[in-house]
């Protein structure tokens, strides 16, 4: 396989006496969707928050595009081009799509907001994601459906020429048709050359969209494998027991 754009080596993180991440290795590749699966409490969210700079791991190495980096805070992660889309999306209902996408990083000319520039950039980004479901990008987010909101949150993450986009349970709250729509969008992101990391509980979604599956078990990385080499049953075994005969040499 090609060199990963983002690579974590031997990462450890504890909260007081609780050892949440134990020597975790994790890779994400440009142009690929990497699914991060695991049961509740396996350490998925902690791992993601370490990547996003919200937590700082005690030990371990971060390699970004082959270079060793330190991520001390969310700003460092953003500067590297790592964006995270939270499960609650963190959108302001009372603002329109454009303002939500640029919130906190508005384009300005002098002291005033450069509305037309922001609007064209937002439009370009949404068009680039082949999003044609929103009527007007000046409508308030409050009037959007769940799938459309997810789309806006994802579009916000890719607006900044980001290289790695992390999606936390993007389809958890969606119906069938909207899930399909969002998965298509996730695929599109990877096809546009981004490294996409998706946390999901839904193995159907994982097998539909992912190239790569990383399964966590009780704070360890049970295995990170190519999707084609495993069956859903193997992944379930990895999630519930931490090992599977089909995955040779992956367990530690």
């Amino acid at each position: 396989m090609a060199t990963p754009i983002l690579s974590l080596r031997q990462v450890n993180k504890s909260f007081g006496p609780v050892h949440v991440l134990k020597d975790v290795n994790f890779d994400a590749y440009a142009g690929k969707v990497t699914a991060l699966v695991g049961d509740n409490g396996a350490g998925k969210s902690t791992l993601i928050k370490c990547i996003a700079g919200i937590y700082t791991p005690e030990t371990g190495e971060f390699l970004f595009e082959g270079n060793k980096v330190t991520i001390a805070g969310p700003r460092d992660a953003t500067a590297l081009g790592i964006e995270i889309v939270y499960q609650d999306l963190a959108l302001c209902d009372n603002l329109d799509i454009v303002h939500n996408m640029f919130l906190g990083r508005e384009e300005k000319s002098g002291v005033t907001l450069n509305e037309s520039h922001m609007e064209s950039l937002a439009k370009k980004t949404l068009d680039g994601l082949s999003v044609r479901t929103v009527k007007s990008i000046r409508q308030k987010v409050a009037s959007l459906s769940g799938g459309q909101r997810q789309t806006v949150a994802i579009a916000r993450a890719v607006l900044w020429n980001s290289k790695v986009v992390i999606l936390d349970e993007p389809t958890a709250a969606l119906g069938v048709a909207q899930t399909e729509q969002v998965l298509k969008l996730v695929r599109q992101l990877a096809d546009n050359g981004l490294a996409v990391i998706v946390i999901s509980h839904n193995l159907n979604d994982v097998f539909q969209v992912a190239d790569n599956i990383a399964a966590m078990y009780l704070g360890t990385m049970a295995a990170q494998v190519d999707k084609k080499s495993v069956s859903p049953g193997d992944v379930v075994k990895l999630i519930t027991t931490g090992k599977s005969e089909a995955v040779s040499g992956a367990t530690k």
Binding site: A90, L91, C92, D93, L95, L103, K108, S120
Partner: protein, 403 residues
């Protein structure tokens, strides 16, 4: 043909927005219209130019407090002490001019600065210590009332004789200047609108709101022209003795505040952040917005506006008293902001709403007094109108989230 379609389409867009709960200023405009028709049919004084000028000066102080309150209400917070903040700042203005012989142009900025400092104190307690603004400003409401009492001394009033301060509420722009003022304002409004559309077109963004904007602008400009016409008619009972014509000075004062505040709210990133914090504070924080600073600034702006309102109170009464800015002032101001369409839940509202709402409150006050209703009825009607607009707000929120 195609033009008709775009008008129809923009009207339909607008209708669907209303149905979706984004009613905006519509209820306040309708209410104002109904009230004006009702009062003018009952009283032959109500629609005279003299009463119209009177109405504007009556509404001025409460409107200015309401404009400042919009900033705080946008965050979903409240400032109960804005009325007495106006009183305290007014007292400082009068004391500096009358007792300490400062010029108005020193005293007025000083009193506004003190208002801003009072707001910073409230804002710090709310944003840093996270004490609910209701409690903080209830405390400062009492404290400012006491401070005002100490400054003015019980039972006493301090007169002010500074001609500039008194002119704000008692003098008018000359007739020619009134028309120049109207033309400049209308011209600037039209040009800024056209410029916005031109810029959008240059950026390749199409929209069908242009026709809608034309209609709205034509209506606003003709209304402004009518108002100017009414105000430039002689309204003195004895024109030979003293002539009363022209736009009261307080109108341009309020207009400057309106333009400034609207600019900050709609054209700057600070304004956008204010709406964002009011809509979803956690999302704003994650987007890297300094939520604490936004909160503190909103309270500073609110009390700064209250200080200007204090000057307007002083100008109207020619003096400061321990009750200036007290009794129902603050409640009327909150009422004005809410009646105009500002949501108490935060995230929704405009400064121009406060002006509409202030006019509604003043029209009720003025009209019912003209018809000879006792104060008791007046309060009850104002309460009813406030309740009505609060229910419209609540219903519109439900309509907006139902989709």
């Amino acid at each position: 043909m195609s033009e008709q379609i775009t008008i129809e389409k923009s009207l339909r867009d607008w209708a669907s927005r209303v149905k979706a709960g984004q009613v905006g200023a519509l209820p306040a405009i309708l209410g104002l219209l109904v009230l004006c028709i009702a009062f003018s049919s009952q009283s032959n004084v109500f629609l005279t130019p003299g009463n119209f000028a009177n109405l504007l000066t009556q509404a001025a102080a409460i409107t200015v407090i309401a404009m400042g309150l919009v900033f705080v209400l946008l965050l979903g917070e409240i400032d109960l002490s804005a009325g007495y903040a106006a009183g305290v700042c007014g007292a400082i203005l009068v004391i500096m001019i009358t007792e300490m012989d400062y010029a108005w142009y020193v005293a007025l900025p000083a009193s506004i600065l003190i208002g801003v400092v009072l707001g910073a104190f409230i804002g710090y307690l709310v944003a840093q210590l996270r004490i609910p603004s209701f409690v903080v400003t209830l405390a400062t409401f009492l404290a400012f009332q006491g401070l005002l009492l100490l400054l003015v001394s019980e039972g006493g009033t301090i007169r002010i004789e500074d001609p500039t301060i008194l002119a704000v509420q008692n003098k008018n722009l000359p007739v020619a200047a009134s028309w120049i003022f109207f033309s400049l304002t209308a011209g600037a409004y039209v040009l800024s609108g056209l410029w916005k559309f031109a810029r959008r077109r240059k950026a390749g963004l199409v929209d069908n709101l242009f026709k809608f904007w034309l209609i709205k602008t034509a209506m606003l400009v003709s209304l402004g022209g009518l108002a100017t016409l009414a105000l430039t008619v002689e309204r003195s009972n004895n024109p030979d003795l003293v002539s009363l014509r022209g736009i009261p000075y307080v109108v341009p004062v309020i207009l400057v505040l309106l333009v400034g505040a609207t600019f900050v709210l709609t054209r700057t990133s600070f304004g956008l952040h204010l709406y964002a914090v009011g809509g979803n504070a956690e999302a704003a924080r994650r987007a890297g917005i300094n939520v604490r600073m936004v909160r503190i600034s909103a309270f500073m702006i609110c009390s700064g506006f209250a200080a200007v309102a204090g000057m307007i109170f002083v100008s109207r009464a020619n003096s400061i008293s321990p009750t200036t800015g007290g009794s129902s002032t603050l409640l009327y101001a909150v009422g004005a902001a809410v009646i105009g369409g500002t949501s108490l839940f935060g995230g929704k509202g405009k400064v121009s709403d406060a002006i509409l709402g202030g006019l509604v409150v003043a029209v009720i006050d003025n009209g019912m007094a003209l018809l000879g209703y006792p104060a008791g009825i007046k309060f009850m009607v104002t309460g009813g109108v406030l309740l009505l607009s609060a229910s419209i707000d609540a219903f519109s929120r439900r309509g907006a989230t139902a989709t």
